[in-house]
Amino acid sequence: MPELETLALAVVRFAETIAWAVIATGLAQNALYLYQLLLAARALSQAPPVNQAALLWRRYAEAAPPITLMAPAYNEALTIVESVRSLLALQYPHFEVVVVNDGSKDETLQVLIDAFELHPVERHYDLAAPCQRIRGLYAAANQPRLLVVDKDNGGKADALNAAINLSRSPIVCSMDADSLLEVDALLRAVAPFVEDPERTVAVGGTIRIANGCKISFGRVVEVGVPRNMLARLQTIEYLRAFLMARLAWSRISTLTIISGAFGLFRRQAVLDVGGYSHGTVGEDMELVVKLHKHYRRLRKPYRVAFTPEPVCWTEAPETMAVLSRQRARWHRGALETFFRHRDMILNPRYGRIGVVGFGHILVVDVLGPIIEIFGYVLIPAFWLLGVLDIEYLWALLAVTFGFGIVISVGALALEETELRRFPNARSLAVLMGAAILENFGYRQINNFWRLRGTWQFLTGAQGWGKMTRKGFSSQP
């Protein structure tokens, strides 16, 4: 039976190839994370964060450029007044808040009018960035920093474009209506625009999980650790994503995303690339990629910076159903941007952003989940068929988990060494437990969700899915 032997040999070789490919991908990803960890540690040690808000004011207030905060709102009648009040109370010398009522079906506009005694006003503006029809503008003499824009519904990107059109500040700040900003968020994030005004076109900030924190009047007044395990795991995940990955990539000029929850942009630069793109769920990443592309093509020096200090807090999903929808959507958004700008992939014309930035997305986001899932399915199957050496498999798996734990703990260590925002040693111990635990199950299930995002992208699924939030009022 030589044919059968040949077939068996081929199966064994195939199984080994798959196993090695999965292990190699895992190790490559971990090596990449380790590199990011080192880059982030270096960045933090060279520019340690300023803990005192008064010092920030002293250093930057005189030279701080005016900023427009752009707050899109859709059916936010219950929370919008508190959100706007907290925005108006930010510590920054020159800013205005432009709230865009994006065709809400509830009483969002009316509650704003009533709460702030607004009345219709005229303001000269240009439709430089495409947006739906603007129905009216509202302001009040006793709230000179506030402008409310009422417009036809068009989605978040459309609402942000409307706010950019209305803005007269050189810097605009994009955010979500439910983002909780630190009182000195603008002062912290504006630093790159003050220190390097010629080159800086965008600045991202660290987003943290608000679950478990004490919240009062739209502000996090006491940092805490989430009680919900899923939110706790996301706390570590956010530390890895922001404090490690984004800080590291900004350090080598390859940052391709600034979270939609908080980001500062040079207004003219956003207009030069046509504003936010419609028809994508990843408009935040899309904008940053467009900026890179624009400046690389012009061969003009530019900088997309990142501030490691927490500037914004957001509510994390606490159920698997909601989290899975969120992650699938994020992944779909990343893929949409990746393939929309596929000409940049590994293209030396775009320098590091094409080779490192897009190369990283290709390996980690596009291929990574697929290969890993292949591995999770095929390797046990091959083992059951008796074609893989289980001893080596366990050993290599242990190395992969070991790396994963080092990286998760490393991200937490960066936070503890440079920022120290968690309240006490106990909370640190709890989070360290989560840092270990996230490697056993959470990361793997995340890959399934991302794979679902890939499927949605391939099948052209649209929409955001139902995003259910508990709301901050019920926080301890």
Binding site: D126, A395, A398, M432
Partner: protein, 347 residues
């Protein structure tokens, strides 16, 4: 050692290292928590002593003196406290601190402290004021840390002793300072205190367009009318950013002698210059230039249309009359809309 054993060793070392790291962090946090409590208590004591000093308590200086050996805590407390008081009270507190020998202690931290400590120390030093401090700040300019250098120069400028404009330009030329917005602020202070030297510096051949624009901006803000001819000359510079800065400067000086230059700038190729010129005409109240602003109401660039409408609104009856005429002119829909909005926004 077999390859299998080696892989297991690597895995166990990684996991062991992570666990050790975690444990070390938790232990360090316990220690830091107790230190942080001590530090907060020290800062409270310093603030209490400084408040006592202002109330004339005789033992206040004695309460402060042990902290001279802890200059970092003292520096942080000074920066907190300084924001709360002004005038004679502030000076009294700072004199007492100077007499304690704090200048020397803070200078030591500028040399030996961590990056954060160096910066806080130089800022606290600047807060102390006095001639001795100025000398210490001048020495701090030689620091290897660019942030300390900038803070020292800013401290000198705030104390009314900025470097000369030419010296400031040198710092950027040699790469000792970056042309940040803080630097631009210091340049404004330097030129305001020595406008003639600022004018002389404008003649330097080594200035990049960015530095020339910064200097022109500072001259415009200085209020020195001697700068008008130089700004007018710079309004024909080949670089649009330089021309824009020159026109903005003329707008700030609001001198009638700039009228011809502004009239020419209204027709400049660069929209930033046209926009700045329209704004300057409005700010200077040059009513006779109002008719030359009107064509800008249908400029292809929105900012120019907006500034033109705004400028006409500021030019009294004549400007408002021209706006009303443009608003009624159906033949020029773009100008009509700009004029309508300017009239509505102007109230």
């Amino acid at each position: 050692m077999s390859s299998l054993t080696l892989i297991w060793v690597v895995a166990l070392v990684l996991i062991g290292a992570a666990l050790a790291w975690m444990t070390a962090l938790i232990v360090a946090r316990f220690i830091k928590e107790s230190r942080s409590t001590t530090r907060s208590a020290e800062r409270r004591l310093i603030i209490q002593a400084l408040s006592g000093l202002l109330r004339g308590q005789t033992d206040a200086v004695g309460a402060l003196s042990p902290f001279v050996r802890r200059p970092q805590v003292l520096a942080e407390a000074i920066l907190d406290f300084q924001g709360l008081i002004r005038g004679a009270d502030q000076e009294r507190a700072m004199v007492a601190l100077r007499n304690l020998g704090l200048i020397e202690a803070l200078e030591g931290r500028i040399l030996d402290g961590s990056r954060d400590e160096r910066l806080t120390s130089v800022e606290a030093l600047a807060a102390l004021g006095g001639e001795e401090v100025k000398a210490a700040l001048r020495r701090a300019i030689r620091s290897k840390d660019p942030n300390v250098r900038m803070a020292a120069i800013k401290g000198l400028a705030d104390a009314g002793a900025p470097p000369t404009p030419s010296r400031l330009l040198d710092y950027v030329g040699t790469g000792e300072l970056a042309p940040s917005r803080i630097y631009a602020e210091v340049m404004r202070q330097a030129v305001a205190s020595a406008p003639l030297e600022g004018l002389q510096a404008l003649g330097r051949q080594d200035l990049t367009p960015l530095m020339r624009a910064m200097l022109l901006d500072a001259l415009g803000r200085s209020g020195a009318y001697e700068a008008v001819p130089a700004l007018a000359a710079a309004a024909t510079d080949p670089d649009p950013d330089v021309r824009t800065a020159a026109i903005r400067g003329l707008g700030r000086l609001q001198h009638p002698a700039a009228a011809e230059t502004l009239a020419s700038a209204l027709a400049d190729q660069a929209w930033t210059v046209r926009s700045a010129a329209a704004e300057a005409v409005g700010a200077a109240g040059l009513v006779r230039l109002a008719p030359t602003v009107v064509p800008l109401l249908d400029d292809p660039e929105w900012w120019v249309r907006f500034r033109a409408g705004d400028a006409l609104g500021r030019l009294g009856k004549a400007g408002r009359g021209l706006l009303e005429a443009a608003a009624a002119d159906d033949a020029r829909p773009v100008a009509q809309r700009a004029a309508e909005r300017a009239l509505a926004e102007g109230g």
